[in-house]
Every structure is written in C-alpha cells, then in structure tokens.
C-alpha cells in the first residue's frame, strides 16, 4: 500500500467533498494525502464533519503542493472548478471534477446555461463519468466530469427506453433533499424553511436540464424534456419520477426485458418490481429503478432513486477513480 496513488480532495469542506474524503481515507487502493478548503483552511476535517472521521487538516489550495499528487477530486462550485482543474491537468494529475464545468460538450449550450467557461482550452476534453454508460472510456481518462445528481438518476432511469428509441416525450418530476443545495447556509436551507415544507424550485430553468438532454441524445433520444425539481424535507436522497409518452405501444413484458437486459450485470443498479424509496439507497452507491406501464394511458412510468451525495456525487466519483486507476470498480464503496 506504500505505493498506492496519492489523492487530494479539493473543496473537502462541502458535503460531497467530505464524504469523498471519508471514502478515500478508508480506501485500500488510494492514499488520501491532502484535503483543501477555502474558508475553513486550518481546521481539521473531522472537526467540521465528525462523521467523516478523517483526521487531516484542511489546507488552502496550493497548485504546487496539490499538483504533486497522482489524482484529485475537485468539489468546487461550477465556474470555480475549471481553472483549478486546468492547473492540475497541466501538472499531469488525473482529475475527477464534481462540478458542472466539464459535463456539457456543446459550447453554445454551455454558454447559454452557464456563461463563459473558465478553461476554454480544455472544454470538451472530459469523459462523462457515468460508468454504466462510459465504462470503457473511463479506464483511460485523464479528466472525468462527474455527473450531476439529477442527471445520474434520470439518465440511468431512462437509458433503456432512450436506447430503444421509445421516448416520444418525457416529463421528469424530481425531488431532492436539502443537502443538494450545498453546505452554505441560506434562508432556503434553514431548518425552519425546509421542515414540514415541500416546494418546486428553479421551475423551467434548472441547469441539469441540458445535461440530461445531452446524454439522452447520445443514447438516441433528442426530444426536449420538461424537468422540475422539488425540495423535500430530508437531508440526503433523490427521486426521479419520469413520465414517458412512448413512441409506440409498450407492454409490461417488454419493459421488464429492456430493464433486465440493460442492468442485470450492473453491480450498482437495482431494478425493482415496485417503486423504490430513497431510504433504500441512502448512503450507498446504488441506483434503484422501477419501470411500469400505466394501463389507463399507455404511458411508461419510471422511478429512479439515488443518494444525491453518494451515487449522485461522492461515491460515483470514487467509482470513477477506481476505473481510471484500474482498481476493482466497487472498491472502497
């Protein structure tokens, strides 16, 4: 283990960063060498996040120092991530970027939703880190764009239908816990605002929309989607309820075959008969999916549940790192 690759987690004070750090700290195949944070530099990670039990001191980012590791997970907000990623890549560090900066591959779309890119010369160079779709490419990747939480659940849920050309139209009603909004305290994430409440947010304008559309298009479905997230009173957990108008009549049996064939060898996707609850996958790398036909309308209803901080962020990042370094895909998860 002395020769295990060294890893730095940048932005380890956030929710996803802290969990990724904890997973890597206990990982037999990597050596967690550094954790960084902006405003919390100088504090110990296990002081900030006791559950992490990572006794490392958070450092201010230093390109020299943190560019000397073998791999980095970058858990910055979008926009802030690209320049740091570029610096690390310039030094040969393999990077999994958890921000949105490298997920989109079409420049105009990126600019429409996010504005100017922070490292334009590296735009479009990342592999999209959804192992169930890009396992082969991830093995040799230097830069991986870790998917957004909603896209992870939505794309895994819809991929079998998209590949079969069955999506004529789709409405995605998404629900997520409060950790999805990040650790920064705001009025919207105050306990009193979230508790006993339930609200749609960013209606018609959530930035995960083009990311979902991009990947569904790769799979063969280029219809624009309706995507509406809701904030639900729970800490971690995310559910996608997708309402698909099929391009032709689909039977229950056909659905069953489609999903079984797509996922029976996938270690982290559980196809269920009945709809999953988010608690079933809490603090795991699993995505639990059910698909069924609405007998009255012929619609296909797909439910897909993940833990937004695990499969939707931190554990999927470690899964990607495993693939990049030729480790067993589920190691340390």
């Amino acid at each position: 283990v002395a020769e295990a690759p060294t890893v730095a987690v940048l932005g380890a004070a956030g929710y996803a960063g802290a969990i990724a750090s904890a997973l890597l700290h206990r990982h037999p195949g990597f050596d967690l060498a550094h954790v960084t944070a902006r405003s919390d530099a100088g504090r110990r990670l296990d002081d900030l996040h006791p559950r992490s039990r990572v006794p490392l001191e958070l450092e201010a980012f230093d390109p020299e120092l943190h560019g000397s590791v073998n791999a980095a997970l970058v858990c910055y907000p979008h926009g802030a991530s690209a320049p740091a990623v570029a610096e690390l890549r310039d030094r040969g560090v393999k990077v999994v970027d958890l921000s949105a900066d490298f997920r989109l591959r079409d420049r105009p779309t990126y600019q429409e939703w996010y504005g100017e890119h922070g490292a334009p010369e590296r735009f479009g160079t990342a592999v999209y880190g959804l192992p169930e779709l890009y396992r082969g490419a991830l093995a040799g990747a230097g830069l991986v764009a870790n998917p957004g939480c909603y896209p992870t659940a939505a794309i895994l849920g819809l991929a079998p239908l998209a590949r079969a050309g069955l999506i004529a139209d789709v409405v995605i009603d998404a629900k997520s816990g409060a950790s999805g909004a990040g650790r920064e305290p705001t009025h919207a994430t105050h306990y009193v605002s979230v508790d006993e409440n339930l609200t749609p947010y960013k209606v018609g304008g959530h930035r995960h929309t083009p990311e979902i559309e991009q990947e569904l298009a790769v799979l063969g479905s280029d219809t624009p989607i309706t995507f509406t997230p809701h904030l639900v009173p729970l800490a971690q957990g995310e559910l996608i309820s997708a309402y698909v108008t099929p391009s032709r009549e689909v039977s229950e049996r056909e659905l069953e075959t489609l999903y079984r064939d797509a996922y029976e060898t996938e270690p982290w996707v559980e196809v269920r008969r009945g709809p999953p609850g988010v608690l079933d996958v809490r603090e795991t790398n699993f995505c639990a999916i059910s698909a069924q036909r609405d007998a009255r309308t012929g619609r296909v209803l797909v439910f897909s549940a993940i833990d937004n901080l695990w499969k939707g962020a931190a554990s999927q990042a470690v899964q990607n790192l495993n693939l990049m370094f030729g480790r067993p895909e589920g190691e340390g998860l």
Copy 2:
C-alpha cells in the same frame, strides 16, 4: 346562539374528524353536540387529540341519538360511510360526507374502483362539495360529498385550463404528508418508515383518479389523466405538480389572465407568481396556485398546494356546512 343548529361529527377520532370537531366547537354559528368514534368511544376527544381542545366524550354511534341533530359531518372510511349517511338522511339530518362514497356520479365507474355501494338508493344524490365550482348548488344541498384531498388541489389547479378547453393531456405528480394515510398505525406510517424517505405509492391505481377525471370532464376536459401520488416526510401538506400539454399554444399573459379571472373573487384561492410551498397553507383553508409556461417545451406547469387535512378535508367540510346553512362562507375557519 342558543338556537344555533346542532352538529354531530361521526368518526371524530381520526385526523380530519378531530380537526373538524375543533373548528365546530369554536364556531359561532353551530353547536357541536356530539362526537363519535368506534374503538375510542368513552374517551374524551381532547385526551386523544390534545390540540383539538374539545372536552367532549366520544360516543358510540347511535342512529337515534345522532340522528336528532341538524347536521352531521361523517368522517368514516369509504364503504363504512354510506349506510350511516343513509340513516342520517332518512331522519332529515343535513350531511357532509368526508368519505369517497358519494363523490362519483357514474355507477360503473364507482363499482370499478370501489365495488358495491353501501346505500345504492342514495347513489348520485350528493352535491360535490367544492365550493369554488358548486357554490350555488351547495346552498340548498341535503347531502354534500366532500372532495378528496388530491382532487381538491388538482381540480382547483386545473379548472381554469379545463374550462378553456386547453388540456390536451396532463400528468399529475402529487406529493402528500403522512396524515393522508389516516391515523390507524401501519408499517407504512411508522415514523422510521416515513422519516428521511420518499416513495411513490399506488402507482396507476389511486382511487382519486376517477374523481379528478369526473370533475375535469364536467369542466370540459375528458382526457384520461396520469396520476401518481408520493409519500413525503411531513405530517400535513399536499402539493400537486401538473404538467399540461396544451391543446394549442398558450402565452404567459393568457395564463395569467385565465387564473386571475377564475380566482380573483375567491376568498380561499391564492394565485401566486412563483410556485407555492405547502407550509404556506398549513392549517388553513387556502389553496395556493401558480401556473406558468415552460418556455422550452410550451407545456403549462401548474402547482397547487393545500393542507390535506384542512382544505383537503376538515375545513372544506365546514366551509360546505356554512354554505348549506346560509352562514358566511368563511365563518369559523
């Protein structure tokens, strides 16, 4: 007040029954004379439900005794309600029935979803108790079928579009707190099952489906709907997210006018610019609604929030009672 009409609440040990009892106990225009319960007869209502602060003893139902009041609210489960309602009506008692027994007006549809009716001779004789749609008829009604919670939110949310003939297709993704499942303890409503969880339930088969379709059809929209409820970790509160494919292009301005015209004189419907949260209407008779156009797909998105135990049950029942007895519609709410 000595001559205020006497009222009995049957099934007062349940959540809706206890709230209705509390509202009527403090109501200046009615005299709450009796509260009944099956298994809890003999206990005081404020012992069972301290928040109600109703110091009456729960009685076993006695057709003679409880048939002597002027009005009754029947808060029984569906099936159990019809025979009791028939007995009360035979004695001339004005009844608001909170069960599903008298909501549907088409016998085959009723039988398909509920089986045999418990008082077939009275089937179809109730006025549907949604005051915003049936105010006139409610004034003279002897039997009112209080709407289901999901139908209340869904129909109020969609009525302006239905009346304008704008609904080509609609997906209703509904979310409700745990009180909607009733007070009877089950594995599904155990704190540990609901807390930090989020699950779709009764997918494709919730009995509020034909009720919503019936009323949308009255308003001019007879398309079958897709309706999926979800259980959310909160006690009271319900949100309808409706995704309408319009029959023709609709502008934001047209939507605004439609909803304003429909509800500007309605005391209990709040039309909002942004989507409502369920906490905004907690423990009130309000229904808060927003409607907006999804610029990317042209869909119309309608969000409608109520308290499932208030506007979705108890307070709406009192609102109906007010109308039936010529009291101010909002009295005691």
Copy 3:
C-alpha cells in the same frame, strides 16, 4: 375600531416578529400600523412570511414615524433593542420588548452576562411580562420585558414549588426546536445540521440562566440552577424537564394540590396528569405542565411545554399588550 390603538412591530422579519404581526393584524382591539425590518425593508411581510398573511410593506425604522404609534412590540436582538426602546418610550409609546435587554433587574448580573447596557437610564424600569406572575403590575406598565422562551416554561413549571419553598436544588434539562436560534441562516441551523441530530449547546453558559434564577428568587427560591439547553429537530416547540430535589419530603397529593391551586384559574396554563408533548401546545399561547414524584428517589419531576415562538415570544407579547391596554387578556390569541 377606528379608534383602536395603533401598533408598530419593530423587527417583523424575524420569526417572532412575523407571528406577532399576524396576531395583531387580525386583532379586533389594535390597529397594526407599521412593520419594520432592517435588511428586508421594502419587501412585503407576506412575501417574506406567507403564513403571516400580513400585506404590509416592511419599513426601515424611523423614530419619528414609528414613535407616533400608541404601542410597539420590539423584536430586535438583545443589545440592539435598548436604544430603540428608549427612543419610543421618550415619545410616550407603550412598549413590549421581546429582547433580553430589560429582563434582568440587577446591573452587575446584566453586565456579567451581556456587557454594557444600551440604555442605562432605563435599566430596571420594565415590568417582567409573565402575566401569571405580574398581572397586576402589567396593567399599568409603560415598558414590559417579555420573558425569554426557556424562562417562560421553566418559571411557570417551577413557580408552585418555589413559592412553597420546596426547591433545595434543581437541574433543568431544556429542549428546543430550531426556530429558537432565529431566522439568520448559520451552519448550526442548516437543515442538514439539525435534521436527525440532537445536541446540547451553550452548556453552562446560556443567558437564560440568570433570568430564571432572578424570578425563582422573587418567588422564594434562591438556589443556583443547572440549566442545559439542547437543539432538537423540530421547528417550533420547547420542553423543560426539571429535576427538583425537594427541601423536604413531598407527596403526590401535595404536588397535585399545589399545581391545581396555582393554575386552576389561569386561562393559559394547562396542568396535566401525564407529561405533555410540545405538539400539544404548538401555535398556541398555552403552557402545559405536569409534576410528579419519583418514587425511587423522592425527587419532584416537572415537565413544562410551550411553543417557543408563541407563549415563549409572540403570543405572550400580545397577551401583555392586551393587559397594558385593558383588553380581554386572551383577545386575538
């Protein structure tokens, strides 16, 4: 009603201020003329707090304008309150101050716990606004110091024992929901920090300690107390569990008599046989209390529950205002 006294609520954007504003807006005996806020001036109160349904615009504090009302509720943080209170009193406005600035009557104690006072010339001039103890003095008061939430529950819970000289020693283990920490977003009140958690805080140093001791001393008990608050995952609600070592053996019957005699004519204190839950008093002005003897140790156990924002702040302030203006004590509650 045209001649109802005018009231201003200063600091109406906070939780207590918003509830007080809502109560006064619907109060038949007062005319809510102004609501103020610092950072939220210019916004409407019902936009910030939809549940309040107060359609007034929040104004920046203006001594001239807001000094022209008959009464004011000041909902500022401690320290900020005293100067504003002084300005209002100088203009003859009757004031209920919800901060801690005028609760303590001993200068050295005040300085030890809070530092310099913001209006030293008015220090010690307020009546302590616990109507159950100071009803007479409140009737003629110009300045009322509304009690802290923990002191309200603790003093009401312990008063019968203190008056009887029965408290040899007392441990107070207090639990409160997250609204007690105020509306300002912090890491400690982030949903993810509070949810599924439970933590003692300010152990040995909470500023409500001297306030409780002051009032127990007035009642005849001058033993120093051990007071430890805990943050519990709920929005509103507070429970005091007090463990009293009695100065002599006390029987169950004696306890029962003591508490009944103390509170049987009090409209807002409910003496219970079994321990109360905080949900029993949610969004009410009630304090629910039980007292019992621990047979094994002879200790007296007192449980006292309030809603920290209602009886612990806003509704008690309105109760005080009613008394100051000779209105029925429970009007508008």
Copy 4:
C-alpha cells in the same frame, strides 16, 4: 472462509435484527446461515428491509434447524427470548441475547421489573456484553446479555466517575429516536405522533433503570438514579445528558484525565471536548462522550451519544460475537 462459524439471527425482521443480519452477512469471519421471524416468515429480508441487502428468506424458528449453528443472535422482545436462548444453549450454541432477559443478575430486582423469568435455571449465567467493561470475560462466554441502549450510553458515560467514587447523586435525562420503540406499528410511533413532537415517556418507571444501577454499583456507585427518557423526532440516535452531583469538588483537569485514562485505548469510545451530537455517531459502533464541570454549581455534566440500533444493539452484538470467537474486535463493523 469455508470454515467460518455459522450464525443465525433470530428475530431478524425487527430493526436491530435486520442491522445485525446485514453486518454478519458482509462479515468476513462469520457465515450468516439463517434469519428467522415470526409473522414475516417466508418473506426475504431484503424485501422487508431493503437497506440490509441480505437476500435470505426469513424462516420460522425451528430449534432443531437453528440449534445446529455455531452462534446465534437473539433479537426477541424480553420474555420471549429466555426460552429460545435456553434451547440454543442446550444444543451448545453460543448466544448473544439482545433482549433484557439475562441482563439483570439479581432475581428479586428482575421480578420486580419484569415478572417471572422464562428460563430460571439459566438466570444469572450471562456475561454483560459491554466490551469496554467486560472484555476479558466475554472472550470465554457462552451466553452474552447485550446491554440496553440507554444503559450502554449511560454506563460508558458515567463509568470513569463511578470507578473514582465521585457520584454522590445523578440525574439522567435521556433522549432517543423512534426506532427505540421497535418496528411494531403503534399510535405512539405513527409519523404524525412523533413528527414535530417531543415527549417524556415511562417517567419513573423505565426498565433500563435497574440495569444502569446494577452496572454503576459494580463500578462502585450504588446511589439510586433518576432516569427519564424522552422520545425525539429522529429515527436513530440517542443522547444521555447526565447531571452528577460529585461526592467532592472535581476540577476540569481532573475530569479530563479521568476520561482520557479510561478511554484512550478504547477503539469505540470517542472522548470529546464539546458535547457530541447524535448524528456524529449515526450508523457506527462509536460512543461519543464529553464531560465538563458546571462552574456555577460544581456539578459534573456528562453527555454520551450512540446510535441506539448500532452501539446500542446490533453492532455491539457483533462486537461481542467477535470477542466470543476470538476475532478482531472491530471486524465487520
């Protein structure tokens, strides 16, 4: 691993049983051979408890079949456990009993709190399964009485003081999440009863009282305790707030030394400077403790947090099993 000892979990459908099964299913040193349940026999454990991911079918208890394993964890309610334990022990099975049946060692005390014992000939033959106190004896034990959840937290929290003879008197205010009440649905554990509520329960009569007293007496402190549990709105987690009147003046430094010396080599006890939150130890075998002196009264305040289903039940049972079979103590946790 082919020769790993076989284990059966009896009562695996309950919360503790399901977690213990999950831990053993993934344990490298044991072979989980059987899981049993009464009313749920025939169902798969991962169907009942998806998070367990144990794909075994629940069987009805069969003394022959389940008596053929090397070890058993018995997760029955008290009373039901003793006869099953006796049958297993008669067949030479090593048993960890999670019920209260073998925890007390004084017959009259047992009878006073629980009534007749279900296997009187085996009464008093178990080792009390708190490894931090009985590690040596556990290594050779055939029957281990796994401690109650409250006793685990309370005894670990107070042991250093008890051993030093410092406890003149102690009040224990305990708080627990709803899983402590078990999986059987009741009115008390309905989501609507627990949510936004907080209640003391079994005041003066909780059966963990004599268990805590028994172990404190072994350590040298035989004062009767005051013990009051409270139900808090969270699923898992338990906090003990203990208020100790010391037999002599104790300094902060002395406290620090006492606790450090007691626990610095204990892998599962974390001594903290500030009070722990229950979330810090969620789903772990850790007990997090802080002890401090209340400067105003000289009292010693001890806070001790565990996960009631893990260190308070399932993971501690596995820790005991590891010790009984000579495995590394923390294996599989």
